[in-house]
Structure formats: structure tokens, C-alpha cells
Symmetry: C2
Subunit: 402 residues, 2 copies
Amino acid sequence: MPELHLLSPRGFRAGAAYAGIRSKDLPDVALLVCESSSPAAAVFTTNKVASPSVLVGRKHVARGKLRAAVVNAGVSNACTGRQGHRNAIEMCSLTARLVGCSAEEVLPCSTGIIGQQLPMEKIAQGIAGAFEYLGDSQEHALRFADAILTTDTRRKQASAQVKIGREIVTVAGVCKGSGMIGPRMTPQATMLAYLTTDAAVTAPQLRRLLRKSTEASFNAVTIDDHTSTSDTACIIASGASAARVVSAAADVSRFKKALDEVCQSLAYQIAADGEGATKVVRIDVIRARSETDAKTIARAIANSPLVKCAMHGNDPNWGRIVSAAGMTRAAFDPDKAVLKLQGTPVFRRGEPLDFDERVVSRALASEEVRVELSCNLGKSRSTCWTCDLSRQYVTINADYHT
Amino acid sequence: MPELHLLSPRGFRAGAAYAGIRSKDLPDVALLVCESSSPAAAVFTTNKVASPSVLVGRKHVARGKLRAAVVNAGVSNACTGRQGHRNAIEMCSLTARLVGCSAEEVLPCSTGIIGQQLPMEKIAQGIAGAFEYLGDSQEHALRFADAILTTDTRRKQASAQVKIGREIVTVAGVCKGSGMIGPRMTPQATMLAYLTTDAAVTAPQLRRLLRKSTEASFNAVTIDDHTSTSDTACIIASGASAARVVSAAADVSRFKKALDEVCQSLAYQIAADGEGATKVVRIDVIRARSETDAKTIARAIANSPLVKCAMHGNDPNWGRIVSAAGMTRAAFDPDKAVLKLQGTPVFRRGEPLDFDERVVSRALASEEVRVELSCNLGKSRSTCWTCDLSRQYVTINADYHT
């Protein structure tokens, strides 16, 4: 079977061009175009300092239909006032004119430095170049995936297939995100995710499913807990497969599973490529009193720089983990909790356990570290992905701008 | 006027001994003893994983009277179960026997690694040694201040004097804190602060004043936003001055001013000595809709690793600051906000401002950086102190334990 990619779902083409908006030798303006105006849904940042591109995109996708997405990297268009708002609309108009749709059927996204106006001449050239290059090959998919990267060190893509009736439908996606990652997206991050499917799904159904999948994927990743001004995840369902409309409960469940798989894989890839990251840290909080409690605790552990530095040093300093759990408003009782590092119990019901620190330290020297904290207060659980905190993180972020 | 110190307020003696609990060549067990059982108040960590020492201390100080405080560095006694609880009580009993008071009149504190039992033989030797060395000279005060340090690189002390009637009373304090600093102390944080005064103040009054002073000082410092298992700030009022009891409104106001001055100086010193810090970052959020909003925004900015790295790199990357303000639940509207870096406006009412990045970058290369964000939504304000995030922070915390 050939490798699946963003354009494996039927009905999509993508293109990318090098417009010189950022210094990297990568394409920086890209288009994703669906063969016809199709059901779509998106979730956006909850930051009150949302980019004008987000404000425009939110309005456009609210109509439930999209024909295309246009995106640039290098300049985020956040904090740019009225000019920024006009520029976001102009990106849509330029795209619409080429594609042959209305501007309202285009979702605009921008990622990069905050507070600079988009270089509209370059953007226009980029859009024209990307349109000229449109295609549905794997190469086109990869170029689109590359064009949206900023401090990312590698492209991120995922896909899944599922049977709806007798037909196989494909769900695929690409995303970017490495720093300023603490998405809290609701149907209204700078992580960007573009999801395609050739399943036939209505916009309301897409909205409901994307919201749920986002909670357990993109919204469960944190690099620096800094909710971006531009976070956006969108899905377009071309319906270009021959499969029946996804509406029966069993079909929805199957489709949801594929969507979850794609979103979670993309989220994992963001954690793995966090700025300066040398490893992924997966935090499972289990047996919490409520799901909110489980999430709150998992996120507090994931965001503690002390925990993240310990993970970088392969240091089984479990006291930092237990104390991070205790500092939130969530129900937590150290006398009931059990903590495991890479499967080894290190703390149980208020008491430190004897364990071989060197053995656990060696186990922590891994590409994936698993922290499991059982609260023993209920039946709820939550998983959160983050990465370690390295000197390289500081280097990247102390010198990004000037 | 001779330099003031922790033991300048009359009625106090202190001692410290080298018990070998930690590797540093500094005293690590210390006693602060008041000449008689005196009104006292304390605030403690709100972490649900509180050290047994905190649980014991909270109970003891609830009686409103203290005669002594005993403290060790190197082992925090947190997450140590029943044995840890017995050890905290034993520290009090050992101290009480020597001082000649009840164990309930002793406040125990421990700071250091989490999850190890206190080495009680060394602790007992340390307490005996510290008691033998008790005195009220500046040297004694400095030894006490040194004995409580852990990853701190320098001692922290402050003092103020104020007239109550015709008499001068002194408020003095020492504290420690460099990492695991995100205190949220209430009358029930690992920063430790010991405050002495020879003013005559009742315990209820001390409680009320300490709570208020803590909000605008210790609770307004964040290094890593990690609320420790052991944070404690306590004040003992010996009443050994000849001044009248502090109860008239004007006297309370004067005394409060001195206490605020001491607490804020100590808090500032904690920020300046944050792990790996090269500078203090002072964040003033002004014209917020409510004090809670102002605090929430100030803390979100102070805790953003992106902002802290930018400050380390002298990078006027103001988009990170504005977006940190926008990601909280607090009321914030970028179209109304004005941001100044070292006094230079960089963002105003939704629009980026033209400013010379090199000039502002040079201004950020300072021991103290001031960030002032005006929300223009109300009349409330809040100040928060933090430090920059350096590679040295990662080095310190990736290798602390193993």
C-alpha cells in the first residue's frame, strides 16, 4: 500500500511557494484546495489577543463550508490592528479569485512573529505561485506540510483509514507547532493543523467530532503553556469517496476513531518536536475524582519547569511530580496517590518507596518517558503530552526575534 | 547607625550549626529563640502535598504564641509519611527541652530534597550545636540566614524601623528561596521567611498584617510557579521594645508599612536570586478591571518561559507579553492595552509602535527590567516579580538530585 498523506483523501489539491517571508530555505505560502465547496469545521485559540486572521477565519468557517485554506509562515499577523484585519481578508480574496469561489469560503492562517504587518506583495506572489503549483501527489502534500513550519525541526503528518459501509475513507492531516504551545482551542492555537477527509460528513457533525478529538489531542499538548494568538485546527470533508454519509452511530464511531488517531498522532509529534526537546513525556493521571481534576493535574505536572528539567537530566526526582499535583485546585491526597516512572512505583500512599535510582534513571534516558500518577480518588483519567526542558530551549527562545 | 539585622529587634537570639545534612560547607541546622513565649503568626504553603513539618507548624502557631523556630536545610521532610510526622514533632521536642518551653511553642521547618527521611541523629546534634552557639550579634543573624539557604547563591535579609509613640521599633527578616518558587501562602510556601520585631503586637493583629504583607510580597514572586511543599513565613513579636502595643489605627498603619517594606525587600531578593537568574523582571499590570485580574495577568506574564527567555536575551519581543496577558481568564482587550518596556511604549491599542529595537534591547540589558502593561479597563493594579530563564536554570535543575 502506498504511504498515505494529506492529499490521499480524494478531492484535495495543495500547493506551496517560496515567497521569502522568512529566512528559512522553505516554502512559506501554501494553499489547500478542495474540489468543491465542502462541509468544514475548525477550532481556534481562546487567547483574547487573537490574530485578525483567526477572527476572519472564525467568521468564514461558521458558515459550515470551505473551499480552500491559505497559510503563510514567518509573520503571524497578530497585534496588527485594522491593517492586519484588511490583510487577512485580502489573503482570502486573492485565493478566492484564483480558485473561483467566494472569499468567505477561504480559511486564512498566519504563523510567525507577532506584531509585524504581513508583507502583502510577497503574500500575493506566494499565493499565485502556490496556485500554479497545485497538485494531489505526495510531493505536493509534503511541500504543504513544510510550508507551515516555523521553529519546528521536522514535518508532522498522520493518516488513518476506516470503512464506512463497504467503502474505505481516509482521514489525513498535517500540523506545525514547536514553541508557544499550550493550546486551549474551542470552536471559536500557534499550532496549525489541517485535516482532510474524503468521507461525507455534515458540518455540524464535523464540528462536534473535531471539538472532541481536539480535547484529547491538540489541547492535551503543552510545550510552554503559552496559548498562541493563532492556533487553528480545521477539517474539510470533501465527500469525494463513494461512501455513504457518516451519520449512523456505528459509522460516526468508526470515523471518530480514525480522526482521534490522526489528531493524537499529530499532537504527539508536536510534543516530540517541542523547542529544544530531547524526549516526549507522557503524563497519565488515572483514578482522579473528575476528568477536569485529571486534566488539571496532568497539565500542572507537564508545565512544571522543575519536572521538565528533571526529565531532561534523567532524574527520578519524583517529589517534583507529586508536589506539582498537589499545587492545583484539583482533589489530590498524597496519602492515597501512587506514582510510577517508566512503570516503576516510586511513591505510594504518602511514603517514598525503595527503588534503584540508577536503574530508573537509565530507564528515563529514553525517547519517550511515561509518568503515571494514580490519585485513587475516582474513575476519571486524562493524558497530557509534553517534552523535557533543555538548554537548547533557552538558546532558541532568547534569540528568536532580534 | 549600625547595620540592622534579624536580631536587631530586642528579645531574640539565634544560633546555627553544621550538621552535615547537605554537602555545602554551610551551617544547616538553626534556631531562632525569643526570650519569652510571644505573639506569633505564620502563613504556609497551600500545596496539598504539604510537608509534615508544615502540618505540625500550622498546628503549633495556631495557638498564637511561639518561643522558638527550628529549621534544617538539605532534606525537606515532604512525602515522608508517618515517620516524617514523628520526626517533625521530635525536632520541636528536642528544641523545647533545651530552650525550656513546650514543644507546641516551637515552629519546625525543613527545606531541601523531597521524599527522604530526616537524618535525626544529625538533626539532634545540629540542634544542640545551634543552641550552644545562641547569641544576638550580627554574626549570629548572618549564620542563621546562611543556614536556611539551599540553591540560593546569596543570603537575603531586610529590616525597617518605625516609631510607635516615642519609641523606635524594629522589624527585621531573613528568607531563602531560589527554586520551586511560586508561593501561594495562606494562613494555614520552598521559600522560608523568618521575621522578628520587638514591637508589641497581638497574635490576631500579626496574623492579619502578615497575611496582607505576604500577598503583596512573597505571594507576588514566581521563579517557576511551582508551589513548594514547605513554604513558610513567620513573624514573632517579642514586645521587648518599650513601645506601646500596636493597636491604634495610626500605629498599625506605621507598623504595616515597615512590615511591607521588609517583606517586599525579601521577595525582591528571592527574584534576584532565582535559579540561574541574571536579572529581576518586575511586572506592573495597571488599570485592570479588578485586582484579581491584575494579579492573574501579571502572573501569566511572569510565568511564561517565552517571556522569560526573551528577557534573558534582551529581546523586546513584546508579542509574547501581550499574548500571555490574553491567554488568561482575566478581562483583557488588546485594542485598549498599552505596553511599555523599560519605559518605552512598544504596543498601543491594538497597534505595534515604531521603536528602535536596538535601543530597547540595550535598555533590557539591565539588572532590573520593568514591564508595564496598562489594561485601560479599570483602576486596579498588581505587581509581580520574577527573573529571566537562562541555560544555567536548566543545568541547575537537570542535575539537582541524582
